[in-house]
């Protein structure tokens, strides 16, 4: 029974698919069944309706989840009405999502339900904080497909990443992209003094002195870094960028003479939009990137079957990936059999 022991150390866990059909729902169902076997009371919700609506477009199977007696779940009222299980309503939110208010319920008789939780991270955080009051020992968050920001570490304590042939039929490409995401998640956390100082800042670009003083560089973003005409490194080469990190920015910084001492602090790994090539090139020149709050990657699951019917060799895929990352890699179907 891989990685379920680890899960119990965390209060909340997000399952994020790198692409549609990488087996995220399968992974979710797997985790749910393993936790059930251990008698853990769990709560489940998802972030946004993004995954749901695109699923209807591509006509692939809906992310319907099987829930067992006693499980708590939070879904929209529209989807609650389509549930195929008996459940007891415990609460209705005052606020509304595009699919209506959110219903908190407890399963009475097991069955299937579609989950569509809140659309913003603050609300998800509130839910993660409330669920223990209703008896949940862990809250699972179904991260929407192709919108990784939901698994942002500011939301859950831990992550499981789902990847697979749907991402790329080329094993090398699949492995490379998965490793890149793995490396982003593994970025080190900045010191705790800076965490509190920088947490509330939402925009701009800031210099961080050696004494941890922060100085507003008074530029809105680094998108047009070459054109600002400002010497952004005049207050030292440690920068805090709450917005997006792009290729342009990394390419600019890596050719400056201070590169060996340059450090970019980002809010979390989902803010890095740079290509893997630029990212690794920046690092190899000596540049550093750290995050305000790190999250723990527990495992990577692989689905060797792509929706177009192409199938990778499961064992070879696992081995290739496992050589590149330190967290355990699994094909859930292989484990079940």
């Amino acid at each position: 029974m891989p990685f379920t022991g680890d899960i119990l150390k965390y209060r909340s866990l997000a399952i994020i698919g790198m692409e549609k059909n990488t087996g995220k729902t399968e992974c979710l169902n797997y985790v749910i069944s393993k936790l059930k076997a251990r008698g853990i009371c769990l709560a489940i919700t998802s972030i946004g309706i993004d995954g749901e609506s695109t699923d209807q477009v591509t006509r692939t199977s809906k992310p319907e989840i099987t829930l067992h007696k006693g499980t708590l779940f939070v879904t929209s009222e529209k989807l609650y009405r389509t549930k195929r299980l008996t459940s007891e309503i415990l609460d209705i939110s005052r606020r509304s999502t595009p699919l209506g208010r959110l219903i908190t319920a407890r399963v009475i008789e097991e069955g299937k339900v579609l989950i569509a939780g809140p659309s913003d991270t603050t609300w998800i955080k509130e839910i993660i904080n409330t669920m223990p009051l209703l008896g949940a020992q862990i809250t699972l968050v179904d991260g929407a497909l192709s919108r990784k920001s939901l698994g942002s570490p500011t939301v859950t304590d831990a992550i499981i990443l789902s990847t697979g042939a749907a991402l790329s039929a080329n094993l090398r490409t699949l492995a490379f992209q998965t490793k890149y995401t793995n490396d982003l998640i593994a970025l080190p956390e900045t010191n705790s003094q800076l965490q509190t100082k920088l947490a509330e800042i939402e925009n701009g670009v800031w210099a961080v002195s050696q004494e941890n003083e922060i100085i507003d560089l008074e530029i809105s973003s680094l998108l047009n870094i070459e054109q600002t005409g400002k010497n952004i490194l005049k207050h030292g080469s440690k920068l805090f960028v709450p917005g997006a990190i792009t290729d342009k920015m990394l390419n600019f910084l890596k050719i400056q003479k201070q590169i060996a001492n340059t450090e970019i602090i980002v809010k979390d790994f989902t803010r890095i939009f740079a290509s893997p090539e630029c990212f690794y090139s920046y690092l190899s020149r000596g540049g550093k990137i750290s995050v305000l709050k790190a999250t723990k990657l527990l495992a990577i699951t692989v689905n060797p079957v792509s929706p177009s019917g192409f199938v990778l060799n499961s064992e070879e895929t696992i081995q290739t990936l496992q050589q590149m990352v330190s967290v355990p890699v699994f094909d859930l179907r292989q484990i079940k059999n």
Partner: protein, 461 residues
């Protein structure tokens, strides 16, 4: 007129209403739809209903804490209530809404009925809770409980067994039957609840009233407002203050000087130096009258007030630039509107700030004299401020006391003005207004040359 509209018209009213913190959605809707009450009796009634809540807030009673906590949990069931009234079958979410509302409302009513008269005869919701709580555990959760039907319980058991033995097809068939039973139960529950509709509606109305009054009471306490006494003849206020100005002064560490004022039918002319608080006085009166007629307490230490049909204002806040009129023209249009509202059996509160101040003094004085003549004969309460001397009609005259003596030249600023002025009103039968313009300018440290020349012109030397 509804409160929503009055907020647009009465200066300073928005400052007061913006500070309200209503706890329910229905309360918020009701608040902005409060009517402008015109008879002493209904105002009295509202004030008397409000009073026990103000006492709760003042003494910070446990019941106040309890109500604040519980009202914040009340959810808006307007849509569900409409579906129930229309005889629709309610779904689980709606049934849950009614159940959790009924449990919460019952808790609120039973805890507060002894302390608040209005809640003494509250609608009994036990029959509603019983319909939706067959297990009798009073927990606000809902599903179609097994206890509603033995058939349903048996079907659910069957589904479970079929699932366990891997018979998905069999489970699916049984599920369809179970769903049908559930639907029958929902129909039945909805019918039974329909019979209780008026009780639920009354409970919603009472909860809304409690929220409204508790929030208004909190506001009254916060702003230090007092319960006014409705009467039929005069307007008599002691310790009148303006919450907006008072708070602004408090931020600067200054205190507001409350004033006493009374109005009888006819005109009361107010004179006094610039910056002596004449405009603030008119605004405070308008605000006090409005709060009184919307059933609030008022900003004073004692207030005996007479309800009026309308509060008619010309306080120079007209956006004349926007309408393309000069400030004089805009003012005349406003005054025309006020005059058209007057009439034999009408009792209004008319507040006009420095009429005709932007035109030549000779004609201006004539216009004001004429205006005062007309207002003096009305059965309305009118207060008019002016700097003009020679207003000759027979009406009451009050003067703001104005500048205290012994102040140094050039030491007056916007910051310390309050230290120099005595804002209280005194009776002054003289037709000659006090001349203090040059004095004020001197205290402000305005150009000496300008002021000495002005003095020469004034004395004719």
């Amino acid at each position: 007129m509804l409160l929503r509209k009055a907020i647009e018209e009465i200066p300073g009213l928005r400052y007061v209403t913006d500070q309200i913190d209503l706890l329910t959605a229905a309360g918020r809707r009701a608040f902005y739809a409060l009517p402008f009450l015109q008879d002493a009796e209904s105002i009295s009634q509202q004030l008397n209903l409000l009073e026990p809540y103000v006492n709760l807030v003042k003494k910070n009673e446990p019941l106040f804490q309890f109500l604040t906590l519980k009202l914040a949990q009340v959810k808006d069931i307007k849509g569900t209530l409409a579906n129930l009234e229309a005889n629709n079958v309610l779904d689980d979410i709606e049934l849950f809404e009614i159940k959790s509302f009924a449990i919460l409302a019952d808790e609120i009513f039973s805890r507060s009925s002894q302390s608040i008269d209005e809640i003494r005869d509250y609608p009994l919701l036990t029959s509603i809770i019983e319909i939706l709580d067959p297990e009798g555990n009073k927990v606000p959760s809902f599903y179609i409980f097994d206890l509603y039907s033995e058939d349903l319980a048996a079907k659910r058991k069957e589904i479970r067994l079929l699932r366990q033995t891997g018979n998905e097809m069999g489970a699916l068939e049984a599920e369809i039957i179970a769903n049908n039973i559930e639907d029958e139960i929902r129909t039945n529950l909805s019918q039974r609840l329909r019979e209780e509709y008026s009780k639920i509606r009354d409970a919603v109305a009472l909860i809304t009233a409690i929220d409204l009054r508790l929030s208004i009471a909190t506001l009254c306490h916060k702003l230090d407002l007092v319960k006014p006494q409705p009467q039929h003849e005069e307007i008599e206020i002691k310790g009148l203050f303006n919450p907006l100005v008072k708070d602004a002064l408090a931020i600067k560490g200054k205190t507001y000087q409350p004033i006493d004022v009374n109005l009888k039918h006819g005109v009361c002319l107010i004179t006094g130096a610039n910056m002596a608080g004449k405009t603030v006085l008119l605004k405070s009166l308008a605000l006090t009258q409005a709060l009184f007629q919307f059933g609030f307490f008022v900003p004073a230490t004692l207030a005996k007030l007479t309800p009026v049909q309308k509060i008619l204002l010309s306080i120079g806040d007209e956006q004349s630039e926007l309408s393309g009129l000069s400030s004089f023209a805009a003012e005349m249009v406003t005054i025309d509107r006020i005059l058209k509202s007057l009439g034999k059996n009408k009792q209004h509160l008319v507040l006009i700030d420095e009429p005709a101040r932007t035109t030549n003094p000779a004609e201006g004085k004539a216009l004001v004299n004429a205006l005062l003549d007309i207002l003096q004969d009305q059965h309305s309460f009118s207060m008019v401020t002016s700097h003009y001397s020679g207003l000759s009609g027979k009406f009451r005259r009050l003067r703001v006391k104005g500048f205290r003596e012994n102040k140094q030249v050039g030491t007056l600023t916007a910051e310390n003005i309050a230290d120099y002025l005595d804002y209280s009103l005194i009776e002054d039968p003289s037709e000659i207004v006090p001349e203090e313009a040059i004095k004020i300018a001197t205290l402000l440290g305005i150009d000496e040359d300008l002021l000495s020349r002005a003095k020469e012109y004034r004395t004719g030397k």
